[in-house]
Symmetry: C2
Subunit: 492 residues, 2 copies
Amino acid sequence: MSEAFRPAIPAEAPSVDSHVSVGKLLDALGSDLVTLGAGLGTRRYCDWSGTPGAVPLALIRPRSTADVSRALALCHRLGQPVVIQGGLTGLAGGANLQGGEVALSLERMNAIEEVDVVSGTITVEAGAILQRVQEAADAAGMMFPLDLGARGSCTIGGNLATNAGGNRVIRYGMAREQVLGVEAVLADGTVIGDMHKMIKNNSGYDLKQLLVGSEGTLAVITRATLKLAPRPASLLTAWCGLPDYAAVTRLLHYARANLSGGVSAFEVMWPSYYDYVLERVAGLRKPLDTRHAYYVLLESPASDAPRDAAGFEDTLAEMLAEGVVENAVIASSHADAARFWAVRDAPAEFPVLMPGLIGFDIGFSTADIGAVADACEALLRARWPDMTTLVYGHLGDGNLHVIAHLADAPPDLSDEVDAAVYELTRAWRGAVSAEHGIGSKKRPWLGHTRDAGALQTMRAIKRALDPAGLLNPGKVLESVARSSSANLPGAW
Amino acid sequence: MSEAFRPAIPAEAPSVDSHVSVGKLLDALGSDLVTLGAGLGTRRYCDWSGTPGAVPLALIRPRSTADVSRALALCHRLGQPVVIQGGLTGLAGGANLQGGEVALSLERMNAIEEVDVVSGTITVEAGAILQRVQEAADAAGMMFPLDLGARGSCTIGGNLATNAGGNRVIRYGMAREQVLGVEAVLADGTVIGDMHKMIKNNSGYDLKQLLVGSEGTLAVITRATLKLAPRPASLLTAWCGLPDYAAVTRLLHYARANLSGGVSAFEVMWPSYYDYVLERVAGLRKPLDTRHAYYVLLESPASDAPRDAAGFEDTLAEMLAEGVVENAVIASSHADAARFWAVRDAPAEFPVLMPGLIGFDIGFSTADIGAVADACEALLRARWPDMTTLVYGHLGDGNLHVIAHLADAPPDLSDEVDAAVYELTRAWRGAVSAEHGIGSKKRPWLGHTRDAGALQTMRAIKRALDPAGLLNPGKVLESVARSSSANLPGAW
């Protein structure tokens, strides 16, 4: 993460005459939409991944879907590659430029168009900031449940393009579960108008589900209709200490079956993580004085606060009686809950505490996570005895985060640690990306999760929707050979 | 529905030499997998839609994914169209043959391979019957929440291919929300192995979400890993009478926000429907003696039975006090709940009571459904004064069902009623299919819901994954010109 703003290193030379190309974009779209020259230098064009990124040849900032369509149609005729940018908070290099591309930012298309309380929907432009969408839902007495640390900067378009996850996936699902309709623009400028409000709609292929998670390589999402959830009256929160992994999965199962409101967060922290953050991160307080083999932050949404609170206490009492939970404390105030969450949210401080850290966002079946985490810590310790290794995750979703850090690390350490940890995803049939996406950073490892048939199918779909490979080239999949753009009808 | 078994009318002549083709299939795959001749005559090959269907040239019944792959690779080389068949309970003609195809039935691939309680998953072959999957989940103390009337005959492969819905979508989602991993075979025999157990998996394009709902036109789903839900301790059920549509949406909103376990069914019946079924369907009893403008069957899952039951009573009491609900009765036993559901499940008797009925499965935003239903009843009554028109639906999902029946109807009535009702889906930005799919029956109306850009994109994906148009031709989209199959590499 310390490398996030290092100078651009173009990964490959542009295959088109860039000056001609951007000049034609400026001529056709005008200086309100297209920024060139000195205007380009003062902005950030890299995401939070630490992967290198170039400055764009031009910055296009459309004000409407028609603008996006015109811009992409032009780029298509010019054979000009385009990288789509939202809030630039991604962690996989998906929005970074490799050199030779123009950047298309949705920042001006940020309207919240409609909240429809009766239908339970909110309709927004893709550049709308997640937190604004949450606030608009809240103001209408509803909740937009997608939530992640970057909420104040990330955009709905980026959330959908990367199928964002976060803490409450176990209860409300990933970004893809929140979307009812999308409008999107294909590489050639064709607009797909699938703005619908229905939960049930089996009228042909569900294109939005293909576009969600395609990381800007198949189309530009311009607008979306999202599902709203009822807003819970309150959240019930507990901190638990448990003796072993079987107890962790037993608590998860029992809580899901017995809490009337279900489980909205089940965050598991291993002792490596717990001890490190309590010692090193300023301002944290131990939720419990006792030490345990596993710590769980359990949260349940309450519709009917007194009854649900009583049920929450009964559930924990039963787990204590069974010995599944060794010790537990229930938050009796928002301040208590915030203290528990501060322990879980400590990774925000990691880039400062551990410069050059190597972070992982990987997935496994819930049954396997305990063994995989043990195997991961053991293999890293055996090979790098001085390495700091921290393990934590969203257990109910099968999402494990691992942090590896070695002071005075050799320059190729990251490649070696990557190879060792991603090998676990191959061996345990896991996911090389649980919630961050593939981008450019994880592309070398995609074959650990997806087989040859799946990769071949992904390439066929990419070729079908973007035959010249102009949208976000080199992300998720390898770049399509640029020569094909010369064969496009109407090429200038 | 009375026409379900009428004789086959081939829609177009096969473009390949059928005798040569099926002979080569038999030679290559053997008589255990391929049935020809007399063996074909005794089976049903049509779904429940009433659309015409042909007898296949051959019936292929693979025993493994490798068999499916070999069969499709052969058909691909032969240019032989294939229709995939599951339980044949569809209502859109999606599994019917047009003539000149072979049928591929997954009936022998019906294993329930694994229930993983810790991960909350069940892994099955595509031919597994839905009810067997529900029973296997139940035996493990969990629930597979997808449920529909055809549960005893329909298969998981068909449920996924058509993205099946049903009564509990409002709480648990459509079939696509239940699937974590799939294995599928493309038209050329390529196997996609995406069998994963993770809720969070952002490792490349989510191909399973494209295949789910593609009605057998893009690939054959052979296996799936499905998500299990906690099994509720009990279900709370009430029958309510309401004064107007605003009250209906107010009850929905209030119940979702205040019932701890949420709402698992919100079935709305208009007086046209209620009066008809109470008068004509044998064995039904009125849940309430009072008449109302709308009737709602409300169901909520309870984890903590006594507390949740008290919350359910409080919620209804509040709605009665506000005048939102005019009268209500809570089921005090399974028998009570079954009596309420019998009123909602009465459409099973409609084909006998109304031979030649015209049924609709359409979708609108929840805000629009009241007005659309009124408009629909008014326009049908104005044009056909003697028509019986019944309206009911799954309101929280935006799913409306309309039944139209005219005794001694002229032969082209169905086309005229279709045109009138589907025009409403165009005018109100609705769905021509909410949960049944497009198949062949609704293909003429697909453009009412999807725009030119979406249709063009669907065709591009179809061409990319099945360039010769051999999988389920003419379903969802028009048939691809068969001549292209002559250009395939390795054609015999």
